[in-house]
């Protein structure tokens, strides 16, 4: 339902023609769509408001000068802004102190225990000696659960014996780590509600006692609007140092990432992507922003086009069109630009919803044949296509291994393109027209 954000944006900008700058009316309409997309992704409504205001500031009056449609241009501003908010300050775990202490905190059922096991395995693989410590004395069998997890990842487990006080457990574990030379202590605390004053106080006491170098807030990617309230309370009370987003292997859009990030303003250090202990990934702000917007990899496509296209060549082509001098020679040059971007199928696969387009729909061969036909023409023929008469067609067909019909078809397409371009170039700045020239002509997709 939301994968067509780009389509919606295209519709919004359809009426924007021949303007040199993005205008406010269009941006407001685009932002309405973006607002809905963000809300449906569970970004907190206040965060959405701030965000759309920022995007608006950036977008209004921005020159229409990139290689893309205004819709794509605004999408790109949105994506960049989102990505900037989500990431930027990526850092690994801060493991300071001997031992270094990591404290796992969060609401009930967010995934602290499983993540503790994953982290233990992660630091172990980097040559550290972790100790897993159960501080959840409340939930039935929580201690058994961590013991099994520790056993599975082959990491030592702190046996609490008769001890039933999380504060004592943390202290004793620290002492044991010192004598037995464990360099990383991971405290798995009980899930709790942020409004449970007594239990929040317990966490503060543990923190003051053991001085953890990391306090990781573990948040479920499926969380809704409440993410802001809980994250804020945990952060206010404890000073969270990082965020772990769990259950990202689900299909939630994960707007909670942005909500939590906006209140905690600490890096999202890891994401959980499965139930296996190796299913812990570093956080990719670019992927996350696209996921939140629900728009597939269309932006990678934009970027690819952006980097591969020769800007000077594009400007030259635009000028030719503007002067109504677009020839087969120019078409050939445009084809070469398209080919530089790699196989069309790989480009198309980045378009959301492209699963529907089968390999056969993209006729790579047709492009090669067009190229062959153009190559078999003389330079003069390409510059003055009206020269191409019957006998020349036969010669070109032979040289390119095609048929006269195919040459006729190409010439017809060329004339159509030329006509279309002329219409568009009227009332449209040459610069904006250059942008259009760089896009893939629809003829290449059947």
């Amino acid at each position: 339902m939301f994968d067509n954000l780009q389509d919606k944006m295209d519709r919004v900008f359809k009426t924007l023609r021949g303007e040199a700058a993005l205008n406010e009316w269009h941006i407001d309409n685009a932002l309405k769509e973006i607002r809905v997309a963000l809300l449906e992704a569970d970004v907190h409504f206040k965060v959405v408001k701030e965000f759309t205001n920022r995007v608006k500031e950036k977008a209004v009056g921005e020159e229409v000068l990139t290689a893309f449609s205004p819709a794509q241009q605004v999408t790109k501003i949105v994506r960049d802004e989102l990505q900037g908010l989500l990431g930027g300050n990526e850092v690994g775990l801060a493991l300071v102190g001997s031992p270094a202490v990591i404290m796992m905190v969060g609401l009930q059922g967010s995934g602290k225990t499983t993540t503790s096991g994953k982290l233990a395995m992660h630091v172990k693989s980097r040559g550290r000696r972790p100790l897993l410590v159960p501080c959840d004395v409340y939930r039935p069998a929580a201690i058994d659960q961590l013991r099994i997890v520790a056993n599975n990842v082959k990491v030592p487990f702190f046996e609490i014996g008769e001890n039933r006080n999380p504060i004592d457990i943390a202290q004793k574990a620290l002492a044991e780590a010192k004598t037995l030379l464990y360099d990383t202590v991971i405290l798995d605390t009980a899930g709790r509600l942020h409004i449970d004053d007594e239990l929040m106080q317990e966490l503060q006491t543990i923190k003051d006692d053991v001085r953890p170098s990391e306090i990781l807030f573990v948040a479920d990617a499926m969380t809704g609007q409440d993410a802001v309230k809980s994250a804020k309370e945990f952060d206010d009370r404890l000073g969270v140092t990082g965020i772990v987003l769990t259950k990202l292997d689900g299909d939630a859009r994960g707007g909670a990432a942005l909500s939590v990030k906006s209140v905690v303003n600490r890096p999202i250090k890891f994401v959980g992507v499965g139930e296996k202990y190796a299913d812990l990934d570093v956080f990719y702000p670019d992927r996350m922003s696209q996921r939140i917007l629900g728009m597939g990899d269309v932006l990678s496509l934009i970027e690819k086009v952006e980097t591969e296209i020769d800007q000077k060549e594009a400007a030259r082509l635009a000028e030719r069109v503007a002067k109504d001098k677009f020839t087969l020679e120019d078409l050939r040059s445009q084809l070469q630009q398209v080919k530089k971007m790699g196989p069309l199928s790989s480009l198309v696969s980045m378009i959301p919803g492209a699963g529907k387009i089968s390999e056969q729909d993209i006729d790579e061969k047709a492009i090669h044949r067009m190229q062959a036909i153009l190559d078999s023409m003389t330079k003069k023929e390409r510059e003055f296509p009206q020269l191409i008469n019957g006998s020349r067609k036969k010669r070109i067909a032979k040289g390119s291994g095609t048929s006269v019909q195919e040459i006729n078809r190409l010439l017809k397409q060329y004339l159509q393109m030329k006509k279309m371009m002329r219409t568009f170039s009227k009332g449209m700045g040459a610069r904006r027209f250059g942008k259009m020239m760089k896009g893939l002509p629809p003829e290449f997709l059947h």
Partner: protein, 309 residues
Amino acid sequence: MTEPKKSFFDKLKRGLFMTHTEIIEKMKESLTPDLPIDQSAIDRLEEGLLGADVGAELTMSLVGRLEQRVRDERITNMERLTQVIREETRALIPQRKASTIEIDRAQPFVILVVGVNGTGKTTTIAKLAARWKNEGKSVILGAADTFRAAAIEQLQMWADRVGVALVKHKAGSDPAAVAHDAVAAAKSRNSDVVIIDTAGRLHNKSHLMQELSKIHRVIDKELPGAPHETLLVIDGTTGQNGVSQAAAFLEAAKVTGMIVTKLDGTAKGGVILSIMRQFDIPVKFVGVGEGADDLIPFDPQDYVDTLFA
């Protein structure tokens, strides 16, 4: 509804009740009594709905209806406005009244409990067991979460605490076999209720959803017509993904009812409005804490009232 109306409000005072006061307070801030309702009042209402996880689509359609009626009916006061919001929201929900689990419909009455990871399935099962045990029913639990570390131990501890029987196999064994044995045991022991716990699973993992369908089938084979209820446990802090969860579990396990947990926090669970509307699955109970008695029957009218008193 089995419990006095008051207790619903009492129990939810800390959580849901805040919704009503918050929304109303916000609206009062922006209203002058007897002056026409202005845009800012409606904006505040919209934020209240969004903040309660009602979702953009539903919120916008509700707000649209509201604006329409404010115009058409020339609504000028707060009282009338909240009444109208209530009506409109109620009209969205197909469920009219509290929907209980009628365990007397069959014996043994088999309940399968499903949901994504960490929503509160196991705890909810303990709460349900305690409830029926207190009514003098004999209850058997089936530990068909054989996957998560110490899931069986967790349910065992609850069974001991509540004082009900448990059927379990070894960790890692076939969950369908556990479900089968739990039903068979209930039949031979003449038990009243069997409640089967399952491993939390993300609804987009087809092999895990197929496993659930298999458990469902095996139960039906052992006792035709069972499970008599399949309960989807939804975490009250869940956002719009709840809709996709409901769709998938409905398809794989023929969900017949929902339980919304963790409403003792600050989350409002508004996504259930969309779920109820789209799939017509009734909410049976609400979880409001970690203790065995922190479970209260859900009443849709009261729920709406608490949202917009």
